[in-house]
């Protein structure tokens, strides 16, 4: 396993940049997710690393080797394709053996390594089946075994879970992560599912419009988003737009006066002028309408979505702003139209100038 360094990677189609100056590192044995909305350049970036797309500029380094100009078949990356791309005319075992044959590994060792790769994904009993005769989840695991069997220097996963149903996805998430950690595989995973990215990754790379927006641990991205886009894409947030009228003082478009931090998300002093405040839903407290402490705002419940382990309550403040609060449980039942008292700690507010 090796470290992967991507630096200044750019791909331009005509006059459209599918990826622009993408730089990051993935340490040995680390799992890093490329996360972002559809069309943000995740697949393009992954395919440049695998060698299927020639970058317009920039370089890809695996271990000590600059592989930017190296053909895909010599890069020694193991890729799991979104639709698995299993060879339909080969059995499960032959699929897994293919990469080993290409490496001119002898018959006995091939059998042994195929066997152990299939055991790893608990599919050794299906070795002689053809891909069309196994389930989607099993196909996914064959694809993983096939990529891992060659002992790649970097493992590349393109939306590995997107073709699985919700229940199976949870389970395979854990399996992939466990396997990746056991084998200490340097891994890049492309996904547009933030839950997947947050639960599986050591670090996340959030992209938008071909550009890296922020790189960090799941915790960093969630707690210290550097832009409104990040706060919006990773987790939920209530956004209140308005302007800073004095240091620490903010007036929303609707006219509510709120306190705000003195610095924005990037750490710069927040000058007077247009700004947006973001508050995470679990930081917003709801209480009975009669409550006065802590100081807060009067509001009215607009919508309640029950999600089993949590409840999202959409509240409209008396001044007109919409906020969302996540509750573990409702102390007393809240229903649409009920008045309530809304409060949050000043420290939980993040401000963005954009």
């Amino acid at each position: 396993m090796s470290r992967l360094v991507v630096s200044g990677l750019t791909k331009i189609y005509g006059n459209f940049a599918a990826a622009k100056d993408v730089s990051f590192e993935v340490g040995e044995g680390e799992l890093v997710s490329l996360l972002g909305p559809s069309g943000c350049g995740k697949t393009t970036t992954l395919r440049m690393i695998a060698g299927f797309i020639t970058p317009t500029r920039g370089s890809v380094t695996i271990g000590e080797d600059d592989v930017t100009r190296i053909a895909p078949w010599s890069r020694n990356t193991g890729m799991v394709f979104q639709n698995y791309a299993l060879f339909p005319h080969m059995t499960v075992a032959q699929n897994v053996a293919f990469g080993l044959e290409m490496r001119r590994i002898g018959g006995a060792e091939v059998r042994e390594r195929v066997q152990s790769a299939l055991q790893m994904v608990r599919l050794d009993h299906l070795a002689d089946r053809y891909p069309r005769n196994i389930s989607g989840g099993q196909q996914q695991r064959v694809a993983l075994a096939r990529a891992v069997a060659i002992r790649p220097r970097v493992l590349l996963l393109d939306e590995p879970l997107s073709n699985l149903d919700a229940k199976l996805r949870e389970q395979v998430r854990i399996e992939i992560r466990t396997l990746q950690q056991e084998l200490k595989l340097t891994t890049i995973m492309v996904t547009h599912d933030q839950d997947e990215a947050l639960t599986m990754s050591d670090r996340l790379i959030l992209m938008e419009g071909g550009v890296v927006q922020q790189i960090g641990t799941p915790r960093e991205l969630y707690n210290r988003p550097r832009s409104r886009f990040v706060a919006d894409f990773v987790g939920q947030s209530s956004f209140i737009e308005g302007e800073v009228v004095a240091p620490g003082q903010f007036r929303s478009i609707q006219g509510a006066l709120l306190s705000c931090p003195e610095r924005d998300a990037s750490g710069a002093t927040l000058n007077t002028g247009k700004a947006t405040l973001a508050i995470r839903p679990e930081a917003i407290r709801l209480g009975p309408a009669a409550e006065t402490a802590p100081p807060g705002h009067a509001g009215k419940v607009e919508f309640v979505s029950y999600l089993g382990s949590r409840i999202d309550v959409h509240v409209r403040l008396a001044t007109g702003e919409a906020v969302i609060s996540t509750l573990r449980d409702l102390a007393e039942p809240l229903s649409v139209g009920d008045p309530c008292h809304v409060s949050w700690a000043d420290a939980s507010v993040t401000a963005f100038t954009a």
Binding site: F81, A85, G99, M102, I150
Partner: protein, 265 residues
Amino acid sequence: MSGRVLLRAFAAPGLTIVLLPIVLVSWLAFFSQEIPSFPPEGHSLRWFSAAFSERKFASGFLLSAEIAALSTAIGLAVSIPAAIALQRFRFRGRGTLGSILLFPLVIPGVVLGAALYIFEVQAEKTTDLPLIGSYAGLVIGHVLIVIPWCIKLLGVSLSGLDRGIEEAAMNLGAKPWTTFRRILLPGIRPGLVAASLFGFVVSFGNLEMTLFLVGPGQSTLPIAIMQYLEWKVDPTIAAVSVVQIVLIGAALLLTDRYVSLSRVV
């Protein structure tokens, strides 16, 4: 529902008109009398033994089979790369190339044969190569009529193939040639089988174009049948036709198993 009934109502007479001669000819082959007349005086297999002992038919069958095999092989060798290029790449003149390769399909066999013959005459005049009525000329003509079918059948197969599997192979260390041999070719195997069978059938049964291209002493089975008919009308011809119909029918049924012919024709 009613559309289906209507379709069947129209298809039934159509099918009857198409199949009736085949049925009648097949029946004729089993008549025992020499001059075809109705009703038959009795039934026998004597015309089949007559057909098999007629040297012209046997040698015509062999020549037809040989030319069909050769032109199908050459046609495939040309069509595989062509079909891949047409399917995979967007290049200038792609549409034109596709049309040219499929062109022999829409030109009547007589026109194609005459054109090739005139070409051979002109080419022989300028190059002094013995082209007119040559074996090579005959094969070239047949390659021409085999190619469109190969391209179509391979195209269907290729379009059903996931491009991702070729990338997967390369990702696992396979160079392009290995990927072609180990992944692409097996992946379009149904198309290859279908194209071989269909190409063979098309070449084997061709009469119109072949008439212009054969040299003296070369007669393919269709030509042998035609020549026989000029002198004699007895059920031997019907027997030969039955054999041919059975062979071609079997080939088409087999082809259809690999690539549904309704997607191509």
